[in-house]
Symmetry: C2
Subunit: 461 residues, 2 copies
């Protein structure tokens, strides 16, 4: 029998779990300091909750769960009828009522609507849970992966945007990832751009094309815009917009303002960027982050089309890796579920990519592997009670301690300590037992010393 | 549109998440102190990995995931054929290759076999993840619930058993749950019992019946044993076994030893219990737990039939609630996947029930709700920069702080602080702004005092 796990999923071994926990704990600490509260939602949602929220492609990539009891005699006719539907590519709740969570945003919106009467708005929530997508697995893309989101819903103030930018800076500083760029833009500018070249109807086409600039270059974008029916003059204007430059934020914003002068919406977007930057300056100064890592990026579009204002994306220039996080403002997310007029803004951290960057750059602190501190080898049966007492004493003092209970060859026991990277080994042979002392071996230096029991705790703390 | 989540699943609101985290963190700390390492496995497993491992009933309760692309033209014929199979109650990988994790034990066995060459044995692992079962939901029974397991695999020493018993004591002491009873037994005694009454073949029937003693009483057990074909003499002997008494562990063990004298296996089980208790006595003494909470319970059977030696179950007599945890030794778990001769022993904590007990007894410490410590109201636009600076200063000092960015009516802002149970509110009105000070309101006492900014941190720390 060949044992395996489903394609695109992963087992996490102890070292990996600890490193991932380090990332999650670091992010969680920042979320908490900024007043965000944790929620959790079920892995399964009603398929009807998810359907139609991620575009046609998204619907296809949702994992559906087969109802139980579909072969019960009382259900069998319904099941057959439903299967006919499914074979035509439709969904049918008679066979698949439930589906696995595809992201954390839609479940969050669903949560807010269902719990609206118990929530104190503005609601600052964070959520760190796995999501599942039936995408073709490839390097860095998994079918089970973790999302880590912080959102504020029910507040239109742009101070939120500035705080979220600081949270990115705080997290990546705490993780030790250098070369961080926090790129910001505003979808109102992109809508204004569409308006300026009389292509309001093609706003989505334009953003989707611009979004690919990084990957396919201007030639690719130009070709896509042509295919989507934009005229040469319109395309030239879009090119002009993407090329806008400026020495410093203010000059860049002024140049955009001139270029998009004919669109009121664009002017509003520029004003918002100015305000966000002004608030961020106050926060960043106090935080000593500075604003050198903040870039206004007119080409930033963010594919997902529920964003309506501020958008943000974080990259590092230290290694080649896509964005480590992103987010933006959405004006009517809960409107999907019938709760209107709640503006929200949120950011997301890509745990898997952050992990890969930190792994590549060797940024995980040694202390992350905080496992067992001392292993007592088992070579002298008479010493068993003594060892059990020492171990208990150490554990009570908060020190992780282990006994190699099975005994056997000394070498085998040392090998175990080595493989587990346990920093100290305690040895009580016959002589130590008679003398009431311990040989303590430092596994890193190889040094060994004889200690009285009361020295032990102090030594390995 | 009526919004809902699937039956038997739950949203966890911030207060609940924090309480659950308190439980999990407490358990995790004990696991780590005893040298256990965390692993995580995917939510989805190949259905073939799970199938047949949980009995017929279990197979039926596994949530299966519909393959994607079953309606692709190239798959459609296969899909139809597979559906015919499914309608007869079979599983067919052409439609459902994957399924949701049903427990943590089988994925753990699968993990050990797949990673055997990188693991340092004995392998002490812990795992805290949700599992899914298509059981009929009822009070305290969910379709998505959390398991929390610690196992040692690759070690036959009974010291492990004693350590696991101490871990139960340590966790429940740390959680503050009183009236804990750690009941232990050994399946070798039950096998010996079957042998003593010439019913070796009906070992499973006997254990399954005995396992229900709590719920259905002796009359129920007797009836079930009769139905399963046991003779009056055999049943009388079983009754005798279940009634064994003794003042203290040693006397009880002696009485069992006499009763089951004809079974070598039973003698072995009794010896094992003696040894476990002897080791536990050493550990418990040092830990000051004592052994008054330890009971030998001849009627303890544990339904799951992969246990082969020591078994354990924890209850509290403070509230009416089923077991809060249980476990035991299994001699050949990984044998299911072709890796023979690895003995293991493990325990499990029932997070949901522990939560319910703690909630009912009001045992969660106040500090669990460690959210925002101070909210600054927004009533004076001129003070905005000052407030943002204070907030940043506090956050840098590790204090969770929030600004009511949207402003609006003072009452509304205070209500928000109240609803969120934020202990302090910072007020900077025009006068405070001019004077460079802060009004700090203690939301519990209602007291308000004027502070200089450098007093603030000290005051609310």
């Amino acid at each position: 029998m060949k044992l395996s796990i489903p394609q695109g999923t992963r087992d996490f071994s102890p070292e990996v779990v600890r490193r991932r926990q380090f990332i999650c704990n670091t992010i969680q600490k920042v979320f908490e300091q900024y007043g965000f509260q944790p929620i959790e939602t079920p892995a399964m949602e009603n398929f009807s909750t998810l359907m139609g929220k991620y575009g046609e492609e998204g619907d296809r990539l949702i994992f559906k769960i087969l109802n139980n009891g579909i072969h019960d005699p009382k259900n069998i006719e319904k099941s057959k009828a439903a299967f006919e539907n499914i074979l035509t590519g439709k969904n049918d709740a008679r066979l698949t009522e439930r589906a696995l969570r595809y992201d954390l945003t839609i479940p969050f919106a669903r949560y807010v609507v269902m719990h609206q009467h118990e929530i104190a708005f503005p609601f600052r929530r964070y959520q760190m849970q796995p999501v599942w997508r039936a995408d073709r697995p490839q390097r860095g893309r998994y079918r089970e992966f973790w999302q880590c989101d912080a959102d504020i819903i029910g507040s239109a103030s742009l101070i939120n945007e500035a705080e979220l930018m600081c949270m990115y800076q705080a997290v990546f500083q705490a993780l030790g990832i250098g070369g961080i760029q926090v790129k910001i833009n505003n979808r109102k500018l992109l809508a204004g751009l569409a308006a300026c070249c009389q292509a309001e109807d093609q706003f989505t086409d334009i953003t989707v094309a611009i979004d690919k600039l990084d990957k396919i270059g201007w030639e690719g974008v130009e070709k896509e815009l042509q295919q989507r029916g934009l005229q040469a003059g319109q395309i030239a204007f879009i090119r002009q917009y993407l090329d806008v430059q400026g020495a410093g934020h203010e000059e860049l914003l002024n140049n955009m303002q001139s270029l998009l002068a004919s669109s009121e919406l664009a002017q509003k977007g520029i004003e918002e960027l100015r305000e966000v930057l002004a608030v961020h300056r106050i926060l960043a100064e106090e935080n000593e982050y500075g604003n050198s890592s903040i870039t206004i990026d007119p080409t930033l579009a963010r594919g997902l089309n529920y964003y309506t204002g501020f958008i943000v994306e974080v990259t590092t220039n230290v290694v080649t890796m896509g964005s480590l996080g992103g987010g933006g403002r959405y004006d009517d997310l809960t409107g999907l579920f019938g709760l209107k007029n709640l503006s929200g803004v949120g950011i997301s951290f890509g745990i898997d990519r952050i992990y890969d960057v930190m792994d590549e750059l060797n940024l995980f602190p040694e202390t992350v592997q905080s496992g067992t501190r001392i292993l007592f080898v088992n070579i002298e049966p008479k010493a068993q009670t003594t060892v059990l007492q020492y171990i208990t004493m150490l554990r009570k003092a908060g020190i992780a301690a282990e006994y190699y209970v099975d005994g056997g060859k000394f070498d085998k026991q040392m090998k175990y300590a080595d493989k587990r990277r346990i920093p100290y080994v305690g040895i009580i042979g016959e002589r130590e037992f008679q003398e009431g002392c311990i040989q303590l071996k430092n596994m890193e230096t190889g040094m060994q010393e004889k200690l009285s029991p009361d020295m032990l705790l102090e030594k390995i703390q």
